[in-house]
């Protein structure tokens, strides 16, 4: 009888876990997270970006620069590598979790779960790696500070949203610390819960208006002119708030509705054309370049491209669970193309493939994205996965409440390049950050904070983390202080970047 060696897994008691959280304060006190000042030997931010460009598609590097140059916020989205280097210099409590690695606010969104429910969750895991939980919290919080400024909010409104994201993270972690292991695992935020929560917020604002009106009545009775004016003003503010809340509710409903329509059939109408009764992907260079036009770029004859794609497809299928592999076998290969996506990752290899199920009206688009080393790997222990595509997929499954059934990974034709696969448009929806009002951003900060805490609680120790974070708002204000300073740093880096483009040091194509 072959008895396998049992892997010993520690199961500390609740008290031990709490103690671990408290001990962590000796390593990094809650107030130690405040402040940010660049070190004298801080690496040149522009140089870090140029370093990343080295392995990217040369014709797309200017597109990346162009997209990042739009605003300090788009720059921040593309600058995960810069921030990773900066975070490595900040104090950490030594409490690890699976990190998203790039938890800025636009990397949260809606997507369809395997049981066809619209879920709100993190949805980008290119940089995922186990590491100190603060890194994700800081990258998330700073993104709110930068987005608030970007939207032209007052300092107070921006501050409130940033603080809200951290406070929500801390409070959610405290509640996960009380929950059973399976309950944490199953916790999720779906469309219904989201809308209920939005409505409750809106109702809360309406209630404030009522109170203001009541106050006004009382004031009228007092017949004090000054008071009357004040009350009228209060009422006006409350009315505006209610209006804003209603708009926010409508907008959220619209986002969810739109997400429902974003499927492969819709993608087919947008991305494909019929030629001789067969669908093929429309060429829109440099954003979409079909396989038939790409052969030259990769040194393959057009005849070689299809077998290569089939090989890749086969290798990918082998990484799927048995039943899903069976399902995928019902689809046949139709066409493939290179397709540019995102901001920071522009220029890494990214492809889409079009598959067909029962007939041409039953399309399925898969997206294939190159995965390189996580930007965090330069500062933390290397990933235990040799395959970066697998690193991304496993990290995603660890963090999300429920994941795409089609996640898989392959090595490229050049075996040093790794890829992960997923569905292209499975009811994915995201919030248009620049159209958010202060109330909307504040609400959004609340759900992002909760979601990040849930993602961390699955792999990290919620009891230790909650104990570390404590009951006071010290952690919240510390991180908010850091975030505001880091938003300043981001603006300086952005200016440097724009200057480099203007001086011709960096090439950029805008509006693509």
């Amino acid at each position: 009888m072959a008895v396998q060696k049992v892997q010993k897994i520690a199961h500390p008691s609740i008290d031990d876990r709490k103690a671990k959280g408290l001990e962590a304060r000796d390593r990094a006190s809650l107030s130690s997270h405040t402040k940010w000042a660049p070190a004298a030997d801080r690496p040149d931010p522009v140089a870090l970006l140029v370093e990343q460009d080295a392995t990217r598609e040369p014709d797309l590097v200017p597109v990346r620069h162009g997209r990042m140059a739009v605003s300090p916020f788009t720059f921040y989205r593309g600058a995960a590598k810069i921030m990773a280097a900066d975070l490595a210099e900040t104090p950490v409590a030594g409490l690890d979790a699976q990190l998203c690695g790039d938890a800025h606010l636009s990397n949260f969104g809606l997507f369809a779960s395997p049981e066809r429910i619209l879920l709100f969750d993190l949805n980008d895991f290119d940089e995922t790696l186990p590491g100190p939980f603060e890194y994700d919290v800081k990258r998330m919080a700073a993104s709110f500070a930068i987005a608030g400024r970007n939207n032209g909010f007052s300092e107070a409104d921006t501050h409130a949203a940033t603080l809200k994201s951290v406070q929500s993270y801390r409070e959610a972690m405290a509640s996960f610390a009380q929950m059973g292991t399976m309950d944490i695992w199953y916790a999720h935020l779906d469309e219904n819960e989201l809308m209920t929560s939005i409505r409750a917020t809106v109702a809360g604002t309406a209630k404030q208006e009522k109170t203001a009106k009541k106050q006004e009545k009382a004031d009228k009775q007092a017949r004090a002119t000054k008071k009357e004016q004040k009350a009228a003003k209060r009422e006006k503010v409350a009315r505006e708030d209610e209006k804003a809340a209603k708009t926010a509710e409508k907008r959220a409903a619209k986002t969810a509705e739109k997400a429902h329509t974003r499927d492969s059939l819709q993608a087919l109408s947008k991305l494909a054309e019929q030629v001789d009764g067969q669908y093929r992907i429309v060429s829109q260079p440099p954003i979409i370049v079909p396989a038939r036009d790409l052969a030259a770029t990769y040194g393959l004859s057009p005849d070689d491209v299809v077998p290569v794609l089939h090989d890749q497809f086969r290798a990918y299928r082998a990484t799927l669970q048995d039943d899903r592999r069976k399902l995928l076998e019902r689809f046949q290969f139709v066409d493939a193309a290179r397709k540019v996506v995102g901001v920071g990752s522009v220029g890494t290899r990214a492809f889409i493939i079009l598959l067909e199920g029962r007939d041409a009206q039953d399309p399925l688009f898969l997206q294939i994205k190159e995965a390189t080393a996580s930007v965090l790997e330069a500062h933390l222990p290397r990933s235990r996965y040799r395959q970066h595509g697998e690193r991304v997929v496993q990290g995603q499954r660890m963090m999300q409440a429920s994941s795409d059934i089609y996640l898989g990974w392959t090595k490229g034709l050049d075996v040093r390049r790794h890829f992960y696969w997923r569905q292209l448009r499975d009811m994915k929806g995201s919030v248009l950050v620049d159209s958010l009002q202060p109330l909307g951003l504040n609400f959004y900060a609340g759900i992002c904070g909760w979601t990040l805490a849930r993602a961390h609680a699955r792999s990290g120790d919620p009891v230790a983390m909650a104990e570390y974070l404590g009951d006071s708002d010290e952690f919240d204000t510390s991180i908010t202080d850091f975030s505001e300073r880091y938003a300043d740093q981001n603006e300086r880096d952005y200016q440097e970047f724009v200057t480099a483009i203007k001086s011709g040091k960096l090439e950029a194509v805008e509006g693509v």
């Binding site: 009888m1 060696k5 892997q7 076998e329 019902r330 039953d362 792999s459």
Partner: protein
């Protein structure tokens, strides 16, 4: 071998031999070709012949088939199995999947292959909590799963309705109505799948609230209350309260021999060290990390079901957080599917893997903790115990058998459409009442056969030829 070599498990015309293809799948046949394939299957087995039952052709003795299954079972539990099966024709039917497998294989078959549940009798449909915590209605026992001709599941399902109706003393007309409703629901649902996109079929599911709608408005309240009550109770926490006692400050599963027998420390060590250690590796990485958050606390051997009595079943209590965070896993021995002797051996090296893979193929959503592992040379699969699982109560469904059969028929069609070819199956069944009428005829004839087989077991026990013991 029914089906012929040109049929793959997914019912398509090109051979895949049940194994992952070495090459990309061929172009799927057009709808016209798929439909024609289904019609051609009528030559192998005319729809009318599905209604026939020839006892003379069965080629085996029911009692011997039952006894042959005892070889891999725990000897001291075998008499309990006999006793339970002898209790009534219905209990016999539940335990006699092997008998029926041999019987089905002795008759002509369509050869339109699907992943069979293999034991789709009416009480093997039920509710349980999905990974996203919805309450889903689905098939729930996959011990016999294997690729095979679709009508075998339909026949086992239909005959179970007649046997169950007789057990509950329903009038024969009520049984007829239930069979007709169940098979018609299967046929209508399958027809709908012929025009649905592949992913829509895959994601299709029946939630608890939809199940309630199958019942008459007057009954809906009663059904809902039943579901809610059970749902709250049938959880790991509920099981913890019911099944455990504290001993020396540690929770232990309360023994109740011979139904629950505590394992010795050495047996527990093997269970953890060999079986659960391998099982852990069959989990996806994220679930493995979740599993690692639990510690094994206690394990007992259990006796469950009717037909599977004697197969080794263990109940393992694990604990996440001190005190109130229990998780029960059930570890069940898996032998070869009863159909393997008649079709082809499973492509899986472990029978535990066969069950898990089949379950995932058939159910619209599957328990996150399913996995498999070996112990002392035997195969096992693992699943959550009582994860809000609700098994229908016979007294609740008997008065509404036709309604319940409708829900089951649709569910079975969904299960088959995931792996089989709905267009071919629909083409085979056709538009008219022929298929439904034939299955209805078979269901009655086979219920009669089941009565005779049950009587054979009862008299063998009375004569002392077969040992039986209550338990």
């Amino acid at each position: 071998m029914p089906g012929g070599r040109d049929q793959s498990p997914d019912g398509r015309a090109h051979s895949r031999d049940g194994r992952p293809p070495a090459a990309l799948p061929d172009l799927p046949a057009t709808d016209v070709e798929r439909r024609a394939g289904g019609r051609a299957a009528r030559k192998r087995a005319g729809r009318g012949t599905l209604g026939d039952w020839a006892e003379g052709d069965r080629g085996h003795d029911a009692l011997k088939t039952i006894l042959a299954q005892n070889q891999i079972r725990v000897p001291e539990l075998v008499p309990i199995r006999h006793q339970r099966m002898a209790a009534s024709p219905w209990n016999y039917y539940r335990g006699a999947a092997a008998v029926m497998a041999a019987d089905l294989a002795s008759q002509p078959s369509s050869g339109l292959m699907v992943q069979l549940c293999g034991d789709a009798h009416v009480l093997n449909f039920g509710l349980w909590a999905t990974p996203e915590r919805n309450l889903g209605f689905d098939l729930r026992d996959f011990d016999e799963t294997l690729p095979g001709p679709f009508e075998w599941d339909v026949k086992r399902f239909a005959a179970s309705l007649v046997v169950a109706a007789r057990e509950n003393r329903l009038k024969p007309a009520r049984a007829d109505a239930a069979v007709a409703a169940g098979v018609e629901a299967y046929r209508a649902r399958m027809r709908r799948y012929t025009t649905m996109p592949e992913l829509d079929i895959w994601y299709d599911a029946i939630h608890a609230d939809r199940l309630v709608n199958y019942f008459e408005p007057a009954d809906r309240g009663r059904v809902s209350i039943h579901i809610e009550k059970k749902r709250a109770r049938r959880t790991s926490r509920g099981a913890f309260a019911k099944l455990t006692t504290m001993a020396n400050g540690r929770p232990r599963i309360t023994p109740d021999p011979p139904l629950r027998v505590t394992l010795s420390d050495e047996e527990q060590a093997d269970l953890v060290g060999e079986l659960l250690a391998s099982y852990r590796l069959t989990l996806a990485e994220d679930r493995r990390s979740l599993f690692d958050r639990f510690t094994e606390v206690d394990a007992v051997r259990q006796v469950v079901g009717v037909g599977s009595v004697g197969m080794r079943v263990y109940l393992v209590l694990l604990e996440g957080r001190t005190g109130a965070d229990p998780l029960f896993l059930q570890v069940k021995q898996a032998g070869p599917s009863v159909y393997e002797a008649h079709i082809q051996p499973s492509r899986h090296a472990s029978h535990g893997e066969r069950v898990v893979s089949g379950k995932r193929m058939i159910q619209s959503a599957t328990d996150i903790f399913v996995g498999w592992g070996p112990l002392h040379g035997r195969d096992y699969y693992v699943r959550q115990f009582r994860d809000m699982k609700i098994i229908p109560a016979t007294d609740l469904i008997a008065p509404r058998l036709a309604e319940f059969a409708t829900a089951c028929g649709e569910t079975l069609a969904r299960a088959h459409a995931r792996t089989g070819d709905p267009v071919a199956i629909d083409g085979y069944m056709g538009k008219g009442p022929k298929f439904t009428a034939a299955i209805g005829r078979f269901a009655h004839l086979y219920a009669d056969q089941n009565d005779r087989d049950h009587a054979q077991l009862v008299s063998a026990i009375a004569a002392g030829a077969v040992e039986a013991r209550p338990g």
